[in-house]
């Protein structure tokens, strides 16, 4: 192929990107500085509002006394089990719902009804059934994470390009080959989106479940700190959860882009 000169990305685009990053981070910094100033000038009661510096101190304390790590491990375990089972079960269910019309007709309404039910409201039942330990939290995570996966994969199956199926059949593909060579690759970006949504919901599920009725975990730590007026510790806990959520989402987004290389620049949103 003939070699062509590719012009580098224009400076204007680069500048725009830098401006965006600067603007975004300066708003956050301004917010933190303002908050800290309110505290420093004694304009707010630190018992209720805390301050960035005190949150950092609280964070250091719970890291040093080991309570953060201890609670984080328990929450992570609950999340990992629930999320893992949600993927293992949700993936085949979503695919089958999308792929087989009869299964969709049979189970579609049931799943829609389940999805509309607020899972967290069932927490008292789960505590009765599974106790205050980690099992009830795993169930909540599982039920929170599984529906975005099911729905996304079901949608994925309906977006399959019929022309591709036509081609596969013309080359004598079996139903299984059509599924493997066309349906599965089509579902991949939807799987990633489902995983991202599921991670968010699952994280929310684990924290709320621990706040609601837990004996350990980050959510329990936050709840306990709150009820004993340790505002700094509450914020420290929330910060840990937020950072975890952002990291998880970022990782999955990266994974998605890796699998989406074939789409090229134009389609990356």
């Amino acid at each position: 192929m003939r070699k062509v000169t590719v012009f580098p990305k224009s400076n204007a685009a680069k500048k725009e990107k830098i401006t965006g990053v600067l603007l975004g981070s300066s708003v956050i910094v301004l917010f933190l500085v303002g908050w800290e100033l309110l505290f420093q000038f004694k304009l707010v009661n630190p018992l209720f509002i805390s301050a960035p510096s005190r949150v950092v101190l609280a964070l250091i304390t719970i890291i040093e006394d080991g309570s953060l790590f201890e609670n984080l491990t328990i929450s992570a375990k609950e999340f990992a089990f629930g999320y893992g089972v949600a993927i293992l079960v949700g993936f085949p269910i979503g695919i089958m719902l999308g792929w087989f019309k009869l299964i969709r007709a049979a189970f579609g309404p049931f799943i829609a009804a389940m999805q509309a039910t607020p899972r967290i409201a069932l927490m008292p039942l789960f505590i009765i059934w599974f106790g205050l330990g980690i099992t009830s939290k795993i169930v909540i995570v599982l039920l929170s994470a599984i529906f975005p996966l099911i729905v996304n994969l079901q949608v994925a199956m309906s977006t399959i390009d019929n022309d591709l199926i036509h081609v596969a059949r013309a080359y004598g593909a079996t139903r299984w080959q059509v599924f493997r060579s066309i349906a599965l690759p089509t579902s991949l970006p939807f799987l990633i989106t489902g995983l991202r949504l599921a991670a968010g919901r699952g994280l929310l599920g684990v924290i709320v479940a621990e706040v609601f009725g837990g004996a350990a975990g980050i959510g329990y730590m936050i709840q306990y700190a709150g009820s004993t007026f340790q505002t700094d510790k509450v914020f420290a806990g929330v910060l840990v959860v937020a950072v975890t959520g952002i990291t998880l989402d970022f990782t999955l987004d990266r994974l998605g882009r890796h699998f989406d290389r074939w789409r090229g620049e134009a389609a990356v949103h």
């Binding site: 022309d163 080359y171 074939w262 090229g264």
Partner: protein, 311 residues
């Protein structure tokens, strides 16, 4: 009424095996030297009737269920057609006349109600590796690069990737796609995508290559270039080809025989030989013989459209 319009070209139907070309002998001016067949008109045009029959269609009837009325509609009505080894046969006809349905039936994608399709004397019951289809849309798998798209058909037949690549490499070179194996479909132009589509079909080394309006979705310039390329390719590899098209010039340029279908339900109106010597060049489109053939085909289609009110 059917037989009334069936104006099978009397000249061509009586030919057996070898006939002299009917090319006019007048000077062709600046085309001289390029259009070589004008010079040696005495050279006979070889027809392939003596070769074994590769694809044989007998009394084929294809119907489909019209969902609105609930009736079974006949799309293809008792079509009989033999294609010999190495022959390039094109079906032309009004749009919606059932020629694509006919091709799909041969591909095994559409069930026929009556009649028989045989490839190499084996009865066709469904899709198979002895036929490969090139559709109007390239329909490449967007997540596979060019190389893996070309080997897709072979992989479906159970061949390992490496072996498939080795087998496909001949056609990759022939269609001049080497160097593009790592590109993804979205990086290619429409013409390039269609070449990959063609390579994918050829890589399977089918007994019969089926082309369903392969260039209809391309722009006029790309279409002409692709026609030339296909012409060159077919003369090189000598595949048995059945093509469906709307373009009469495309049909005449590429084919050994042009079969004209009636408006729906489709039956054979005429089976016209194209007595132009090979290798052909696209410049033959300027010759009088070419225009004569196009007119002949056009008159049959036009006559049928007027009578049948098929437009």
């Amino acid at each position: 009424m059917k037989n009334g319009i069936a104006a099978v070209n009397p000249e061509s139907s009586t030919l057996n095996g070898v006939v002299p070309s009917t090319v006019a002998t007048q000077a062709v001016g600046e085309l001289d030297g390029v259009v070589s067949f004008h010079k040696d008109v005495q050279q006979p045009v070889k027809f392939l009737d003596n070769r074994p029959v590769k694809l044989s269609v007998k009394n084929l009837v294809v119907g489909y269920l019209d969902k609105q009325s609930g009736h079974t509609m006949v799309a293809v009505d008792k079509v009989t057609l033999d294609i010999h080894e190495g022959e390039f046969v094109t079906i032309v006809g009004l749009s919606g006349c059932g020629k694509s349905t006919f091709l799909n039936a041969i591909a095994g994608l559409v069930q026929h109600q009556h009649g028989e399709i045989k490839v190499n004397d084996r009865i066709v019951t469904g899709p198979g590796m002895d036929r490969a289809v090139v559709f109007q849309k390239a329909s490449l798998l967007p997540w596979r690069n060019v190389g893996r798209n070309i080997t897709y058909g072979l992989e479906l037949s159970g061949m390992k990737q490496a072996a498939a690549r080795a087998k496909a490499s001949y056609y990759v070179n022939l269609i001049r796609l080497n160097g593009f194996e790592d590109h993804y479909p979205h990086q290619l132009s429409g013409g390039m995508q269609q070449r990959v589509n063609l390579a994918r079909a050829l890589a399977c080394d089918p007994e019969v290559l089926l082309l369903d309006e392969p260039f209809a979705a391309l722009d006029a310039i790309t279409r002409e270039l692709m026609q030339n390329e296909l012409l060159e390719l077919c003369e090189k590899v000598g595949k048995t080809v059945l093509m469906v098209t709307h373009q009469i010039d495309e049909a005449v340029l590429l084919s050994d025989r042009v079969v004209i279908f009636s408006s729906r339900p489709a039956y054979v109106l005429a089976d016209i030989r194209i007595p132009i010597r090979r290798p052909r060049k696209s410049l033959i489109k300027d010759s009088e013989e070419f225009r004569g053939l196009m007119n002949e085909i056009w008159r049959v289609i036009e006559g049928n459209a007027n009578i049948g009110g098929g437009i």
